[in-house]
Amino acid sequence: MSEVVLAAADVRKYFPITAGVFKRTVGQVQAVDGVSLELYEGETLGIVGESGCGKSTLARVLMGLIPATSGSIRLEGEELVGMKPARLRQIRRDVQIIFQDPYSSLDPRMTVGNIIGEPFEIHTEVAPKGDRRRRVEELLEVVGLSPEHINRYPHQFSGGQRQRIGIARALALRPKVIICDEPVSALDISVQAQVVNLLENLQDEFGLSYIFVAHDLSVVRHISDRVAVMYLGKLMELGTEDQIYERPMHPYTQALLSAVPVPDPRLRGRREQIVLTGDLPSAADPPSGCRFRTRCWKAQDICAEQEPVLEVRAHGDHPSACHFAEVKVVTRATH
């Protein structure tokens, strides 16, 4: 396999809950709790989970945008946790981010040229001053926009076009890793496909590694090489796209996959749908032992007492965090 670009080991992010005039800490939200994963060169790692599971926080912690509470994050061998702010700003070149909301991600007071050119003003060594306008025009072309749009303002573009501007900005510094935080979920279906295709083409062209955070499981499956399933701040299962979708081991993964509507009416009533009961528990007060146990149909006493570790289980070929992990196919018709 190719080289590891980004490696996280036992990363935690706790947000303090404060109360009162003096902002006394009264508790902690365990948004990310002991996550370890690796991102290889040129691959796409999908992170899926319900809203509130900590996937967006994890993505930002991985790029040093939110400081980790503990653990280790190594970008090409260099430790990000506890790094000096000046060096961290410098190293930001290598990891960029694309946001979900194409409306709030672009400064409405700046022209497209200034938005895409801003990275060059911060990292002046990347492009000499006289060269910047040409570079911005090139970037516009790369993402499929006309270079003539350089003097326009964001509100003059549609959602899909704005997302392309955001992608051009992320590409400007030639990063090694791009964090895609729900990059297509705010877009219409037909535009979604355009942006997914663009991301895939850019990956091939520039050898990028993606961390692709999304709740749309079909899009994640299409674009990802490997997929991590997250629930309440922890990884439940980690494997290749094929392993996760065709041979899911963890009950949560199975429930998640079975809930995805399939655009084929002939499968109606012929698929097993695992409908989870109840809501996501609070990350400020997670259940003991396995965090999924309160909604799990397999839960037994041991699940409340002992936390299952993420490891390769019997009958499995990829790590999952369940005492009773076993393969169950849910993406195909049952009879």
């Binding site: 079909s218 509507p261 009961t277």
Partner: protein
């Protein structure tokens, strides 16, 4: 004359019947909901936008109609026009009829219209948090319908609220009835909204993107709840969504909208099997599928048109792979492809054959 005579001389409030609306004669033999040639314009400072441009469909009791389309195609405006909750200005209904059991809702006065809402048509919105009033307890908001419309006492109304919350599967309904909307999770709030829409036992439910803001696992719960309630009460359900997967799972009939018009109408099986309009075809192709892994997704080039500057002829022609001169010149009518199946494409046969 004594005081008691004067008091009793006044009109006695009649025991309210949730269905009876004075002066309206609903015909039980007419189709449940029959929308004919509905047109809605928006007056903007850029000009007049034809947001809904001649939409027609029929909904029978116990059936589910899925209205499918991307943002700006007019699907939500259609729903709001049926409900009579359009913001006007800028919106104006400029033509068509909305027949509910034979009564044209568009000709009713505001009072009757309000009666029809809730009593006969209920609506579930996408954003339950903003559709519920944040400063009132959910039980009070639910009970209000019974107090205002049916003249129930506070205790009776509260009792009904608990019954409804229980019906939509909210655990410990008797306690949750005193909670405020923000104390519910997203999925639970959507259940409260459904309870509200169901309160007066309507014949039609319009659900406008009811699960778009929810996670898949919760979406599955909510769709199941809607389907169960519909079957149990034999209601007509209009499901408005952009999610091709969701409609495939629950709809009987599908109406695909593009730029304010219906472009294809058919039963769910034929449409997913062989679409008869290039737009439907392209939409279905643009969903990622397992066998497409590692390949380019089929995407529709370009963007939907600006509703104030519609292209001549077929509105989809600038993005269509079948387009030719005729598409630029003539607006295609809704051709009958087969009985009960319509497509607004001159070359539907060609589309079917690909």
């Amino acid at each position: 004359m004594s005081d008691s005579d004067i008091l009793s001389a006044g009109p006695v409030p009649e025991p309210a019947d949730s269905k009876a609306i004075a002066s309206l004669h609903f015909d039980p033999t007419a189709p449940l909901l029959d929308v004919q040639e509905l047109r809605v314009d928006f007056h903007t400072h850029e000009g007049v936008a034809h947001a809904v441009n001649g939409v027609s469909f029929t909904l029978e009791a116990g059936r589910t109609l899925g209205i499918l389309g991307e943002s700006g195609c007019g699907k939500s405006v259609t729903a709001q026009a049926i409900m009579g909750i359009l913001d006007s200005p800028p919106a104006r209904v400029v033509g068509g009829r909305v027949l509910l059991s034979g009564v044209d809702l568009l000709t009713l006065n505001e009072d009757d219209r309000r009666q029809v809402r809730a009593n006969r048509i209920g609506m579930v919105f996408q954003d339950a948090l903003s559709a519920l009033n944040p400063v009132f307890k959910v039980g009070w908001q639910l009970g209000e319908l019974f107090r205002k419309r049916l003249g129930y006492s506070r205790t009776q109304a509260r009792h009904e609220a608990v019954r409804l919350l229980d019906l939509v599967g909210i655990p410990a309904a008797a306690q949750r009835v005193d909670d405020y909307p923000h104390q519910f999770s997203g999925g639970m709030r959507q259940r409260v909204m459904i309870a509200m829409a169901l309160a007066l036992d309507p014949d039609v439910i319009i659900a406008d993107e009811p699960t778009t803001a929810l996670d898949v696992t919760v979406q599955a719960q909510i769709m199941k709840l809607l389907a169960d309630l519909q079957a149990e009460r034999n209601m007509g359900l209009i499901l408005i969504t952009h999610d091709i997967g969701v409609v495939a799972d629950v709809a009987d009939d599908i109406c695909v909208m593009y730029a304010g018009r219906e472009v294809e109408k058919a039963d769910v099986y034929s449409i997913y099997d062989k679409p008869a309009h290039p737009y439907t075809q392209a939409l279905l192709e643009s969903i990622p599928r397992v066998d497409m892994k590692g390949k380019q997704l089929a995407s529709i080039q370009g963007l939907p048109p600006n509703l104030t500057q519609m292209p001549p002829g077929c509105a989809f022609h600038p993005r269509c792979r079948f387009a030719r001169q005729r598409c630029r010149d003539d607006t295609p009518p809704l051709y009958t492809v087969s009985p009960g199946r319509l497509s607004a494409c001159h070359f539907f046969q060609e589309v079917l054959d690909t």
